[in-house]
């Protein structure tokens, strides 16, 4: 699998601006071509959408929580209240150039169906998720003997919205299984920096705290 290198800060975003954005958002924004039409599924408070719109991208969002939606709409963003599991079916084929699922895959009931829908609605999909194979996670389970909790995933097992955790390795496997082509893959470490590229998958799976993937339909273009 051919993987390309990433460097931060990203082109088109001045360094002082980049400080206001999450590094995974910057990475996602860099993957999106200017002038394209994007749907952000699970857009939260709309930070990523704002970043995209500032780069001349036509962004729309879906968010589950009413508070999140209302904050987005109050920022002037085009966001609707909805559920990735049930509402994506209402969107027509090829409605967007990109559909983004940022840190949301692990909270869906049917990640596989959601992923398939992303690539039906959008010509490309960008998916980022926390890597459950991250060494800190493994260590907590192995040594501590309890479900892992980190700064980025502080919820306890009984109140977490994240019901379908996976590792980078698991996700790659799922993509192969449903015939999705990986155009780019990046693992971000603890500090939001890309994990060096020339390292093997197992290293990514161990030292990437999150994975960011640019996907497209493989061989089944409509």
């Amino acid at each position: 699998m051919a993987l390309q290198d990433q460097t931060l800060p990203l082109p088109g975003i001045t360094p002082h601006r980049s400080g206001n954005y999450r590094s995974d958002h910057l990475l996602v924004a860099e993957m999106v071509e200017r002038g394209s039409k994007v749907l952000d599924v699970g857009c939260g408070d709309g930070d990523l959408l704002q970043l995209l719109e500032s780069r001349g991208i036509d962004g729309r969002g879906i968010e589950l929580s009413r508070e999140g939606v209302n904050r987005c709409v109050a920022k002037g963003l085009a966001v609707v209240q909805g559920d990735a599991d049930t509402d994506l079916v209402n969107y027509p084929d090829d409605a967007f150039d990109y559909v983004i699922l940022s840190q949301t895959l692990q909270a869906t009931r049917q990640p596989k169906a959601v992923l398939e829908n992303l690539l039906r609605i959008g010509r490309r999909a960008i998916v980022s998720f926390p890597n459950f194979g991250f060494w800190k996670m493994r260590l907590q389970l192995l040594v501590g003997g309890h479900m892992p909790r980190t700064e980025n995933l502080p919820a306890t097992w009984y109140d977490t919205p994240n019901i379908h955790f996976c590792t980078i390795k698991d996700f790659v496997q799922l993509c192969d299984e449903i015939g999705v082509k990986m155009e780019r893959a990046v693992a971000l470490d603890n500090f939001g920096r890309p994990v060096p590229l020339n390292l093997p998958w197992w290293f990514w799976n161990m030292f990437g705290e999150q994975g960011v993937f640019l996907l497209s339909r493989a061989g089944k273009e409509r």
Binding site: A74, G76, Q81
Partner: protein, 397 residues
């Protein structure tokens, strides 16, 4: 029960109201025989007039016009003292300096709907062919008819494209009809607490109201205007029933509970022992002072007939295909007359049309009426939506 004073008051208000029906105290656009209004029922209405009100100034580019569409019992007096009741405008929370619809930024227009009773041609107007009031001879009108008439008014005012169309309830239906019928004339749309079609339950409540009006002996088959009566008891009952649907169980409980009105013990009679009864009676009696009973029949009917999907071979998405208009759909959690599910169906159709749409559900226990009340979150969202649309429209800050 009925005091001399209230009878005199009713007579005075009846006089003022019937004067407003033909000679409104707001600007009026008259359309002669050369400009008939083609109605959905097949009749060309002519002559007819549209009474309207404006706030603010139209800019040089003619790009800052906002049309406010009023609800069932509203009128063009959005943000000025009402000529009949002397009360403030019905949407002064939303329209005014510093409000989301600010006359310092926008040119705001509101027209009394066709079929209304505050100066636009309706059943309470004089039929020029007979010299008598239209009454039930007035043709049945629909929401698309109202919008068609508004479009003619805008032509008259020299406004090609509206920056925004805003409205709640029946006003929201007009907003949706505007976007379906004249998408190229609507830059942005803010439909609030509404639906693309009137539900069976809503039709049922309207039928209840109409039957109450028609059961009043003073209705006189709709000819009360010529006979010096007004079915105020029937219309008051219709309003009471309607008003309950505008509230919510929680709001009624919070406002009134089971509290008694000016007494500690039940009177063991059918007097208004409970505060909620007294409140409803007041709502009913104050409504009849300013509203025409036949108008109520016609406007409720127009809402009943409303179904955008039916006008597009049953497919709602088809009504909005390729639309460029920006939408902000708003619903309220406790609104059971136009519940969130109806707004969600609209949003799905707009998504299927790839329209640029925002959708916010506001948490409140105040029911359908919430859009008329002071709900800060609703104002924040409306303001932000208009600002971002204004930026896209080049209206500046």
């Amino acid at each position: 029960m009925v005091s001399v004073k209230s009878i005199i008051n009713q007579a005075i208000h009846r006089e003022e109201r019937s004067h407003e029906a033909d000679h409104p105290s707001s600007p009026v656009a008259k359309f002669g025989a050369d400009q008939p209004l083609p109605l959905d029922c097949g009749i060309d209405l002519t002559p007819f007039q549209i009474a309207y009100q404006t706030y603010g100034e139209l800019n040089a580019e003619r790009s800052n016009a906002i049309l406010v569409c009023h609800a069932l019992t509203g009128d063009q007096h959005v943000a000025n003292v009402h000529p009949v009741t002397g009360k403030p405008g019905w949407w002064e929370t939303m329209v005014g300096p510093g409000r989301p619809l600010d006359p310092d930024r926008y040119y705001i227009i509101c027209a009394n709907v066709i079929g209304g009773c505050m100066g636009s041609t309706g059943p309470a107007s004089v039929n020029p062919a007979t010299g008598k009031l239209w009454g039930l001879d007035f043709p049945i009108i629909t929401i698309p008819d109202m919008v068609r008439a508004q479009a003619m008014l805008l032509d008259r005012l020299g406004i090609d494209t509206l920056f925004c169309v805003v409205g709640g309830s029946m006003g929201g239906m007009q907003v949706l009809q505007w976007t379906a019928a004249y998408p190229e004339r609507v830059f942005s749309a803010l439909p609030i607490a509404c639906s693309t079609r009137h539900s069976a339950q809503n039709i049922a409540f309207h039928e209840l109201g109409r039957q109450a009006v028609m059961a009043d002996p003073d209705w006189r088959g709709g000819r009360y205007g010529d006979q010096g009566t007004h079915p105020h008891r029937g219309l008051a009952v219709a309003r009471m029933a309607g008003h309950i649907t505008y509230l919510s169980d929680a709001a009624l409980h919070r406002k009134f509970g089971r509290r008694m009105q000016d007494r500690d013990l039940p009177t063991f009679s059918f007097d208004a022992d409970f505060q909620v009864e007294s409140y409803l009676r007041y709502q009913g009696s104050s409504f009849v002072e300013r509203f025409d009973a036949n108008s109520y029949l016609y406007l409720t009917r127009a809402m009943d007939y409303f179904d955008i999907a039916a006008d597009h071979n049953g497919a709602l998405a088809r009504a909005f295909r390729g639309i460029k208009t920006r939408f902000c759909v708003v619903s309220f959690t406790s609104d059971w007359l136009f519940p969130t599910s109806e707004s969600r169906a609209l949003v799905h159709a707009l998504n299927a049309s790839s329209a640029r749409v925002s959708f916010a559900e506001i948490e409140t226990d105040r029911g359908h009426d919430a859009f008329l009340l002071d709900v800060p979150e609703f104002f924040d969202i409306s303001r932000a939506f208009l600002q971002s649309a204004g930026k896209a429209r080049g209206l500046g800050d």
